[in-house]
Symmetry: C2
Subunit: 490 residues, 2 copies
């Protein structure tokens, strides 16, 4: 099949982008279009359940690899706990069961037998894991227990959205036991910092770390902390949570140990998790009207090589790009797209939509000049470079893209974070500008509730190092005790 | 706490081995004892469901890492499909549903709602994946589809055994679509060879590859192939299966593509899997009366360093082993066990039971002589070596252990594989000697059934390159068409 000889796209090259709704027209539709067009996910016949296709799953694999390394470096080990939890176990911790009851999937029959006690598909695994821990922990020598699992969980959702809210999702859940309250709190905060640093370093997503209000904390926790990111439509997304469980679960599940002083004590526990919703965050923070934009460290393919083939020069161009690809593969994640049933322009559109950070174009004229053309996905900038300089240039360019993407995301967040001390102005900001709004708050759940009812905004978190900027709660005018980040959220 | 100064175990060092039933006394109890004592798995409150503890899960992670690499090198990608399958989808392929019906777990309620159609927890994912593939495949350009998923599955079992048969287990299941029958058959056999080679190279387990009989094939497959290993009690274990599904599923799920000749055709499919039962195989092939024996390539910890601490020399010994550990960690998986609440002898027993391939002992006298002591787990051999030679010696020693372990497993299998052409003798071998019995077979399922009823032995597989050694079926005396490996199996 004859191919166009140039580096330009033409009208004949199917431009998938035309099938993506622009963000400004309908953000929500843009998000769905990007996911379906790039084949990241697909709907199953069961409402709320979805398949994560290879293009989406490859990102989850990167998240797993880079996150798991951090867990192991801090002494955690992986394990696997049963999918099904007896109803009676889940009911042991009162707040916990109340929080999850409306979202449970019930297994009532196994084989041909109706079960005497229904089993629940785990919505989270505290209950079943605590049951094991009550047997595994005996002595102070058994502590700390630092275990994580990567698994699927099910929470029956009425209204779902790919990656952000699905009835089944993949996540990791860490569950630890400690001798002292201080150790448990230190673990909770250590993990929170791992999440924040991971988002920033690997995903180029700046995140605010802080404490959740009582109203927003995990069902059964003493304190919940979270990392919160701002999506490009100005809505916030909770990207990870870390819970100090205190002794709530230890007491009802009877997890005790004989301490060095010969006293029998309850352990102090934590749990923490991030899920496939991080993939949704990645799409919404960096994506644009042409589709995905992947930060180089997260990209399953960092560089795609597209040869420009002509009848006359086909063989020598193919040979040159094969050689180039083999060489670059030693250090980078490279894809050589040498399919001949598609034109170069078609491929440019496809790989742009799929967010591959850098494209290399090589045609006959480039070979003659001993050069290649590099194109950045994030800015569209082109650069002509000698082939001999490519191995040195590419890692540098990828790092540049990574840091530029973080910088832009940070600038966006800064531009969309506003301080406010007047409630009428607050409501206007939430309605018209979106973003984070930093306010002083009295700590009363009634004020928090009123804000939610008036504006749909919730407290995303209470950052660690911020004193109240005003003496007065923005809602009730009483004495403020905390600074809170409010936003509408996914 | 004062520690003993020597390299010898004493009566005070708790020897866990005494709590393990010897193989010769009760093989089945030996297996359970090893698993529980080494903390690889634990029973949950739900019958047949178990937790895989860190010591067991670390082996699964190694299997995943080394197997997944092979899948990716052969062009496969990972994805994730829903846990729950509508009853109507599973019922589409008649043989398939008949095979799995007795083992299904039924979800009948989601949230507060009784489901109109019950959902089944996947016992395997052909049905749900074929439903997706019917939409994903349109043109020959979409083929082949080479997708794998790592996930949990549930099969309600009446009688269970850790790792070998549990109601929930972890596995990988590959599902591919091809243009032609030949391509599908080539894929099926390529995966079978990956399994065989993986078992041999990484797990030091020799396996026989071959075809399953009609009676033993996968419910819904055209042909099933498997790799079969021999456990140290003489029973066989099916370690992995690879199915050529033909067009059975493509026809009922309507997976069609427009071929280059403009004809609408059904795809040809394969599916294949290995599971956490491989961990059971590892235990039973290599374990001994002192517990686990891990092949170095599978061992999460390859070398454990045990310092011998005395009051006087504590600091300088600890300093030396820390330095040693840091240096060796660059290339090997090293654990420094510097706990002071346990004696060296206690640690020797513990790490032997846990199967760590090599132990390094370092005491004050060793420091003075600039030496360390190496102890092999598989043979118990000790070797004194200069510290300067350790970095070179260890990788060599680990490779030696790996190949010795394979050699011993192979010798055991050879010694327990017998040819037989007389049915009375056959029955005697199966009853008294166990192992594989190679016989000629007429191909009739009735003969296969008779053997099973008489002896509990089944056809494990029909190897590729073996012609019948006799003209007559060992059971009925009719013309033999195949050579079959029979054995009692897990």
């Amino acid at each position: 099949m004859e191919q166009k000889a140039g580096h330009e796209k033409t009208a004949q090259d199917k431009d998938f982008v035309k099938e993506i709704t622009p963000k400004a027209v309908d953000y929500s539709q843009w998000y769905i279009d990007v996911i379906l067009k790039t084949k990241m996910m697909d709907y199953s016949p069961v409402k709320g359940f979805m398949a994560i296709r290879p293009a989406g799953f490859a990102i989850w694999e990167k998240i797993q690899e880079l996150m798991d390394r951090r867990f192991k470096e801090t002494g955690h080990q992986n394990a696997y706990f049963p999918l099904l939890i007896p109803q009676s176990l889940l009911q042991k911790e009162a707040e916990h069961v109340e929080g999850f009851a409306p979202e449970l999937a019930w297994v009532t029959k196994g084989g041909s037998e109706i079960l005497a006690e229904p089993l629940l598909i785990r919505p989270t695994s505290e209950a079943i894991i605590c049951d094991f821990y009550s047997r595994w922990v005996q002595s102070w020598r058994d502590l700390p227990i630092l275990i994580n699992q990567w698994c699927n969980v099910v929470r029956w959702e009425k209204s779902t959205k790919p990656f952000l809210r699905t009835s089944e999702f993949l996540w990791q859940e860490g569950h630890t036991c400690h001798r002292t309250e201080e150790e448990a709190e230190a673990e909770t905060l250590q993990i929170l910092e791992i999440y924040r640093e991971f988002l920033e370093t690997e995903m180029a997503i700046p995140a605010i770390a802080g404490r959740k209000s009582e109203r927003e904390k995990f069902a059964g926790a003493l304190r919940t902390y979270s990392v919160e990111a701002l999506m490009s439509d100005g809505k916030a997304l909770q990207a990870g949570t870390s819970h100090n469980l205190g002794q709530h679960f230890a007491k009802v599940f009877d997890i005790t140990f004989l301490d060095q002083d010969d006293q029998l004590k309850h352990v102090w526990q934590t749990s923490w998790g991030v899920s496939t919703r991080l993939i949704g965050a990645l799409i919404m923070v960096h994506g644009d009207d042409r589709g995905l934009v992947l930060p180089p460290r997260m990209a399953p393919i960092q560089v795609v090589i597209v040869p420009i083939l002509t009848k006359k020069d086909r063989d020598r161009v193919l040979e040159a790009v094969s050689e180039l690809s083999a060489k670059l593969k030693e250090d980078l994640r490279i894809k050589l797209d040498d399919r001949e049933e598609y034109s170069p322009g078609w491929k440019f559109n496809e790989w742009e939509m799929r967010g591959i950070p850098v494209r290399i174009e090589v045609g006959p004229r480039d070979l003659d000049k001993n050069q290649v053309i590099l194109v950045r996905r994030d800015t569209g900038e082109k650069e002509v470079i000698l082939r001999g300089e490519l191995s040195a240039r590419l890692p540098q360019l990828l790092e540049q893209i990574q840091s530029d993407m973080l910088k832009r995301a940070l600038e966006f967040r800064e531009a969309n974070t506003r301080c406010c001390s007047d409630y009428e102005e607050f409501k206007k900001i939430v309605e018209e500008e979106r973003g984070f709004v930093i306010v002083s708050w009295c700590g009363d759940a009634a004020c928090e509730e009123k804000v939610k009812n008036d504006t749909k905004a919730t407290i995303r978190c209470i950052p660690f190092d911020k004193k109240p900027e005003s003496d007065q709660c923005i809602v009730c005018g009483q004495k403020a005790v905390a600074t809170a980040y409010f936003a509408r959220a996914y």
